[in-house]
Amino acid sequence: MPDQHHRTTTGSPPTPTLEVRELVKTFGTVRANDGISFTIMPGEVHALLGENGAGKSTLVKSLYGVHQPDSGQILRNGEPVTIHSPATARELGIGMVFQDMRLIPALTVWENVALHLSDTPFALRPRALRARITETSERYGLATHPGRKVEHLSIGEWQRVELVKVLLGGLDMLILDEPTSVLTPQEVSGLFDMVARLKSEGVAIVIITHKLREVRQIADKVTVLRGGRTILSDAPPATLSDDELITAMVGEPVAILEKRSTSAEHATAEPIIGLSGVSVRRVDGDWGLREVSLEVLPGQILGVAGVAGSGQDELSETLLGLRQPHSGTVMLDGAIVELPAVARMRKAGVIAVAPDPIRQFVVPGMSAAQHAALWNAAGSYSFDTRKADADLARRDAAGQLRVVAGSRRMDRLSGGNVQRALLTLALTSPCRVLVASYPTRGLDILTTERTRTLLKELCEAGSAVVLISEDLDELLTLSDRIAVLAGGRLTGIVPAAAADRRSIGELMTGKEAAA
C-alpha cells in the first residue's frame, strides 16, 4: 500500500481533519472528559486507547454530536464548529459506528440503511437503494445481504451493515468505537482491509481499541486517555514500547498471565453436566447445534473455540437450561433433566457470563446494586437492594475488578464497566459450573489479566468453567481441554497442552479431528 500521507504536503503542512482543544464533558459529578486535546490528520488512522471508563466513547460521541461538550473547541478543517446533532456531524462528513450498535432488529438491512440516509426520497426506491448498498459493500469488501432482517444477522455482519450505512452517506472522517471487540480474528482482518482502503482515499479514521497488537498493526498515531484526561496525544506508536503504552493507560506496568499448567488428573471425576447427541434448532430454523456430546468436569476449564455463530451461544444456553433441545439428552449429576429448566440449573450452581450483556443482563433504569440484588435473588422474589449494595462492595474487594459504585445506573455505564459489573457478580459467586462467554470482551488490559486470573482460581477451587472465547491465545493459555465447534458440530475436543493455533484453526474450518 503506497503511503498517501503526503499527497497534500506541497508547501505548508496540511490542515487537520479535526482538532480537539481542551474538551470537557461532565455527567452530574462524573467528569467523563476533563480537558482533552488531540489532532487528526487526513488519511491518518488514529487509535484512542484507555481503560474502561476513561472517557473514550464520551469523547467520540461529542465529536459525532450525540453529546454537547461543556467547554472546549472542535475545529473541522481548521474552522471552529459546533456539532449539534448526529445529523450535523453527517453533514460535516463525519461518520460513526457505535460501540453498542444501533440498527433496528425488526427491519431488513436496506430498510435500516434507508432510515439513516438523509437523501432518502419520501417514496422509497428499494431497488435503487439495494443496488447502492451492494455497490458500496463490494467496493469495501463488506459482505452483506440487503434483504435480510437484521435480527438474523451475526454480530460481525451486523457491524458490516453499520459500516455500509455510514459509508453510503459519504464521509472524510470515520469513527469506530471498539469495532474489533466483537469480531473474530478473520473479521478483524477484513475490517482492517476496509480501513486501509478508506485511508488510501484520504479518509481520517479514529479507532478505539484495547488491543495493542491492533494498534501496532494499523495505527499511525495514538492518543491515550486516563480518567478523562489526555495522558499522551498524537504519538506515533512505533516510538513507544508496549510497556510504555500500558503504563500510560493504566498508570503501572501489568504482568501478563502465564499459561496454566494443566493436568489430566481430574479426568476421572464425575461430570457435572453431560450432553449426549444434543441438537438445537435456532429461531430461524437452521441447526444451532448438531449431535453434540461433551462433558463438563469439575476443576477443569473447558475451552470452546469456533468462528462466530458456530453454535457457541446455543451451547451456553443449553448448559444454562435456557433452551429445549430438539433431540439428545442433558444430564445433571448423572440424572436426565428436561429443559428448559433455568431455575433448576441455577439452583444446582450453574451460572453464566452472558455473551451479550447489554441485551441479556442490563435492565434499563436499574442501578448496579439492583442488578446485584437480582443476581443474588437467583430466581426468587426476595430482592434486597441495600444488602446487595454492601455485597457488591465485598465482591469488589474479592474480585478486584474495580466495579462502579452500586448507586450508578447500569444503562449509563461504559461498555467495559457493564462487563466488569457482570464479571464481579459471576466470578465471585460460589458456583459449580461457570459458563463464561467472551468474558474479556471490551475489557482493558489490566482487567483482562485480572479476569483470567479469577477464572483460573475458580477452577483451582474445584468449579467447572466453560470458557467460550474467540481469542485463541486466551483459550490456549487457560483451558485444560478445548472443544471446537464448526457449523454447530463438535469437530474435536483436544487437550490444550497438545494444541496450537494452527491445529485449532483447522478444526474450526470443519475438518474433523482424527479420532
Binding site: 459529578t29 444454562l320 453464566a352 441479556q360 435492565v363 439492583q370 437467583a378 422474589y381 430482592f383 478486584q400
Partner: protein
C-alpha cells in the same frame, strides 16, 4: 491494590457546601422549566383556540377554575369524576411496569360496573350491609381482572398483542352491558329507558360531610399509595420492573415471566373493575349506557402523563377530571362547546409526548 475505579472519584468540595451544591444540582431545574413552560404553552394555545371559537380568553381561566375547583360543589364533582379515571390510570400503570400496554381500562371499568350491578341487586337486600358492600365492590374487581386476564392470557400463550386485544374487548364489554340493560336487566319501572334497576341503599356508598362526596376518592388515594409502595418495596414490583425493562435478563435470572405478565395485567384489570364498581355504587347508582363515557381512555392518557407512576398517574387523573369538568363551565358561561376541553387535554398529552425522553440521551 486498593485503586477504585476512576469513575468513583468525583471532585469533592468542602462538605457543607458540597451538600448544598449537591442538593441544588440534584433538582433538575432545566427539566422543571421545560415542563412548566410546556403546560403554559398548552394553556396559551388553548386560550387562542377558544378565542377563535368565540370565547373570551381573559375570563377563560377564571371560568374553568370556577367550574372545576374554586367552589365546594365543583371540587367535589372533580374528585368524584377522578375515581373512575384514576382507577383506569392505575389499571394501565401496573401492567406498564411489566412492559404491557393495557388500553382496556374502559372495558374493565364497564365490566366492573356490570358485575357490581349484578351482585348488588342480588345481594343487596339479603346479606347484611357491610358484607354486601364489600362483595359488590369485590365482584367488580374480579370481573375487571377476568376481562384483562383474557388479553394477558392471549398475549402469554398465543403471542397476540395485548394492546390490540384489550382495546377491542372494550367494544365487546360495551355490547355486553347494552345487551343486559336492554334485555334481561331492564328496569320494569324505568319507563322504557335502557337501564338497570337502581341499586338498593345497602350497597350504595354513603355520602360524607353532608355533600355528595363519598369514600371512593379516599379509596383511590389509598390504593394509589399502596400500589406505589408495592411497586417500589415488594419483590413482585421489582420483578415486574425487570421483566418490563429487559425480558431476556428476567428469563436468564430464572424469573417466572409468564406469571409476572399475567399477574400484572390481572392486578391492573382488578383495579379498573374496582373503579367501575365504586363509581357505580357511589355516583351512578344504576347501570345505564353512559356509565363510563370514555373515562377508561382518559385514564390511559393520565397514566401516560404520569409516566406509569401510580401516584403521578392519579394526580394526572385529577387534572384531567378537572379539565373535563371545566368544559361545563365553558359551555354555560362562555357559550363554547363543552367538548372543546378535549383540545386542551390532547395538547397536553401531545406536548408531553414531544418533550418526553427516555434516558437523557437524544439520538
Amino acid at each position: 491494590m486498593t485503586v477504585r475505579n476512576d469513575e468513583a472519584l468525583a471532585v469533592a468540595p468542602p462538605r457543607a457546601i458540597a451538600a448544598l451544591l449537591g442538593f441544588a444540582a440534584r433538582i433538575p431545574w432545566k427539566r422543571i422549566g421545560i415542563v412548566v413552560g410546556a403546560y403554559a404553552a398548552c394553556f396559551v394555545a388553548f386560550a387562542a383556540f377558544s378565542a377563535w371559537q368565540g370565547g373570551n380568553p381573559l375570563t377563560l381561566v377564571q371560568t374553568m377554575l370556577n367550574s372545576s375547583m374554586l367552589n365546594g360543589d365543583a371540587l367535589v364533582q372533580t374528585l368524584l369524576r377522578a375515581v373512575p379515571i384514576g382507577f383506569a390510570a392505575l389499571a394501565a400503570a401496573i401492567p406498564a411496569r411489566a412492559g404491557l400496554v393495557n388500553v382496556g381500562g374502559e372495558g374493565q371499568l364497564i365490566l366492573g360496573a356490570v358485575a357490581a350491578t349484578g351482585t348488588g341487586l342480588a345481594l343487596g337486600s339479603q346479606v347484611p350491609g357491610p358484607l354486601a358492600l364489600v362483595a359488590t365492590a369485590a365482584a367488580g374487581a374480579i370481573a375487571g381482572a377476568v376481562w384483562a386476564g383474557i388479553s394477558a392470557a392471549a398475549r402469554v400463550w398465543l403471542g397476540t398483542s395485548e394492546s390490540v386485544t384489550s382495546l377491542l374487548m372494550n367494544f365487546v364489554a360495551n355490547d355486553i352491558m347494552l345487551f343486559l340493560i336492554y334485555q334481561p336487566w331492564k328496569d320494569p319501572a324505568g319507563s322504557g329507558q335502557p337501564q338497570s334497576r337502581p341499586l338498593p341503599g345497602s350497597v350504595r356508598l354513603g355520602t360524607l360531610f353532608g355533600g355528595q362526596l363519598n369514600i371512593a376518592v379516599f379509596v383511590l388515594f389509598a390504593v394509589a399509595i399502596g400500589m406505589w409502595l408495592v411497586i417500589r418495596r415488594t419483590g413482585w414490583g421489582f420483578a415486574l420492573r425487570v421483566v418490563g425493562g429487559n425480558p431476556e435478563a428476567a428469563r436468564r435470572n430464572g424469573l417466572p415471566i409468564k406469571s409476572l405478565l399475567l399477574s400484572s395485567m390481572l392486578a391492573g384489570g382488578a383495579l379498573a373493575g374496582l373503579g367501575g364498581a365504586l363509581n357505580l355504587m357511589g355516583v351512578e347508582g344504576q347501570l345505564q349506557p353512559g356509565v363510563t363515557t370514555t373515562f377508561g381512555y382518559i385514564g390511559f392518557l393520565a397514566c401516560f402523563l404520569g409516566r406509569n407512576d401510580p401516584i403521578k398517574a392519579t394526580l394526572a387523573a385529577l387534572l384531567f377530571s378537572a379539565i373535563a369538568l371545566s368544559g361545563n363551565g365553558l359551555q354555560l358561561v362562555e357559550g363554547l362547546d363543552g367538548s372543546i376541553v378535549n383540545v386542551l387535554l390532547g395538547a397536553i398529552v401531545l406536548t408531553m409526548l414531544a418533550i418526553g425522553r427516555k434516558n437523557g440521551e437524544r439520538i
